[in-house]
């Protein structure tokens, strides 16, 4: 068996794949956070809970309505997005113009409510969720064994990231969004319904988290606590990347996921903290983040 630095190569590639998968979720979630923060100036602490809600929506659709993975891939993000729109209309909206810390605290409270309620109803244990039959099994790539679903996650999340980036950079809606991020009042003075744009943006960001949740369900199981620890890592990813750039958020997400995977191979004890260590180093060397601008 071939080895690199004394590590068998299949193990190395396996960890890189896991890193890519984790990185996919870091990228998807930090992308949503960045879009929401850019326009609303709210750090959406509920992002992890919305990811969990997406996974649960898929699980419940299957359990109680017999709706399978593929329709759930559309339906679950819509459900999560709709619930987020209600949150924005009834609560978040009242906090615009106040210190952004209140938005953080409100969404933190919402995250606790969602997670607490789902834990109360479903218990803390993870619920298995099988990948769809089309993506079951795996292929031998010669140098490693690739479970097909994991390959799908990496490709799907890349497509979603690029799609979101195109939506923001190349469409009219995206131009509204970018302009309103700079000067919302002026955009509204041109006749764009900015309050509606804010609602839509929050819904879109949350739907992205929900979509990530559906993708994650067969990989990590469905559990009420799947989002809370992840969101803290994603915060660190966001600090490393800086929130100024959408592309930066995506790249940083994948990069740190792979780095974490590699750490698991070479120094497993540090794998759970390596992202935080990178954050600390970035703060020392380049406080605004790798892709950030000093505000």
């Amino acid at each position: 068996m071939s080895t690199i630095f004394g590590i068998p190569t299949p193990a190395l590639y396996g960890q890189i794949l896991i890193g890519l998968i984790n990185g996919s979720f870091y990228a998807l979630l930090s992308l949503g956070l960045a879009v929401i923060f850019g326009l609303l100036r709210v750090i959406n602490f509920a992002h992890g809970a919305q990811y969990m809600l997406g996974a649960f929506a898929a699980y419940l659709l299957l359990e109680y309505a017999g709706i399978g993975y593929w329709p759930a891939l559309i339906a679950a993000p819509l459900i999560v997005g709709a619930s987020a729109i209600v949150v924005e209309r009834t609560m978040l909206r009242r906090l615009y113009g106040l210190d952004p810390l209140y938005g953080l605290l409100l969404t933190f409270g919402l995250a606790l409510i969602f997670e607490g309620a789902f834990r109360y109803w479903f218990g803390a244990a993870g619920k298995p969720f099988s990948p769809p039959s089309q993506l079951a099994g795996g292929v031998n790539l010669g140098f490693m064994f690739l479970p097909i679903y994991r390959g799908w996650v990496v490709i799907a999340s890349l497509v979603i990231c690029v799609g979101t980036w195109l939506l923001i950079e190349k469409t009219r809606l995206g131009a509204y969004l970018r302009a309103a991020t700079e000067n919302a009042t002026l955009v509204q003075a041109f006749g764009v319904n900015v309050p509606q744009l804010l609602t839509l943006t929050y819904g879109l960001g949350a739907a992205l988290a929900g979509l990530a949740g559906v993708l994650a369900a067969p990989v990590y199981q469905v559990s009420p606590l799947m989002g809370s620890n992840l969101i803290i890592i994603v915060f660190a990813v966001v600090v490393v990347g800086g929130m100024g750039s959408i592309l930066g958020a995506i790249i940083t997400g994948y990069m740190l996921g792979v780095l974490e995977g590699l750490t698991k191979v070479f120094y497993p004890e540090a794998s759970s903290i390596v992202i935080f260590v990178v954050m600390a180093i970035v703060l020392l060397v380049r406080p605004a983040g790798l892709f950030g601008r000093e505000e």
């Binding site: 970018r178 302009a179 041109f190 006749g191």
Partner: protein, 235 residues
């Protein structure tokens, strides 16, 4: 040209937070007219435009567009009613290129200029259409800020100091553009300190001081008011 004003402002008061800035502004603009608001810095000219648009928080009084009360509308509905706003700071978006900046304001009515017509009027913008909006020179940014609201079909342009800080050649160009727009029947409310520039296009002048209109006169009467102008404008 009918006698009823297109835009009718009566007793408009406005506040920035606690401070009372406009103390009852009255002005009326008929369709196709170009009206210039003169006054020195801090007289309340910009505030008047912002208050008409509804960018300010607290306002009182009457702002009617063809009999419709604009004061009750949320900000985006004011633009949709037909006001095209060109702010003093120009408001070109850095994260948008020139063409995106140009295409940003949604159409509010038929009868706006086509993109081809706009590029014909502003050839520089065509040349630099893929540049980042804020990479343009000050004069080009000003032209872009004007061009942007011509596409939308807005009935009235609110122009805030379009010549501020620009070189004489550019001012000349902007003056030509205003003359063209006027010839096309556009209604314009222009805020200016430079009355020599404004006299080329203005049908009427309003003179502002301390948040009030203190005088108004027709464009051709400008010369007979020069001493008051020097007094009020401090030039």
């Amino acid at each position: 040209m009918s006698d009823a004003p297109l835009l009718d402002v009566r007793g408009l008061q406005a506040w920035y937070g606690e401070s009372h800035v406009l103390h009852g502004v009255d002005l009326a603009i008929r369709e196709g007219e170009t009206v210039t608001l003169l006054g020195r810095n801090g007289a309340g000219k910009t505030t008047t435009l912002r208050a008409i648009m509804g960018i300010l928080g607290r306002r009182q009084g009457v702002v009617n567009l063809r009999g419709h009360d604009l004061l009750r509308l949320p900000l985006h509905r004011v633009a949709q009613a037909g006001l095209g706003y060109v702010p003093e700071e120009r408001g070109i978006f850095a994260s948008l290129n020139v063409e995106e900046n140009l295409m940003l304001p949604p159409k509010v009515a038929e009868g706006g200029m086509s993109v081809a017509e706009i590029y014909e009027l502003f050839p520089n913008l065509l040349e630099r259409r893929w540049s980042q909006g804020t990479k343009l020179s000050g004069g080009e940014q000003q032209m872009l800020a004007i061009a942007r609201v011509l596409r939308t079909g807005a009935k009235i342009l609110l122009l805030d100091e379009p010549t501020e800080g620009l070189a004489p050649v550019i001012i000349q160009r902007i003056g030509d553009v205003l003359v063209t727009l006027k010839a096309r029947g556009m209604t314009i409310l222009l805020v200016e300190q430079n009355f020599r520039f404004a006299r080329k296009v203005a049908d009427r002048f309003y003179l502002m001081e301390d948040g009030r209109i203190v005088n108004s006169f027709a464009g051709h009467e400008l010369d007979s008011h020069t001493s008051q102008l020097h007094d009020v404008l401090g030039v």
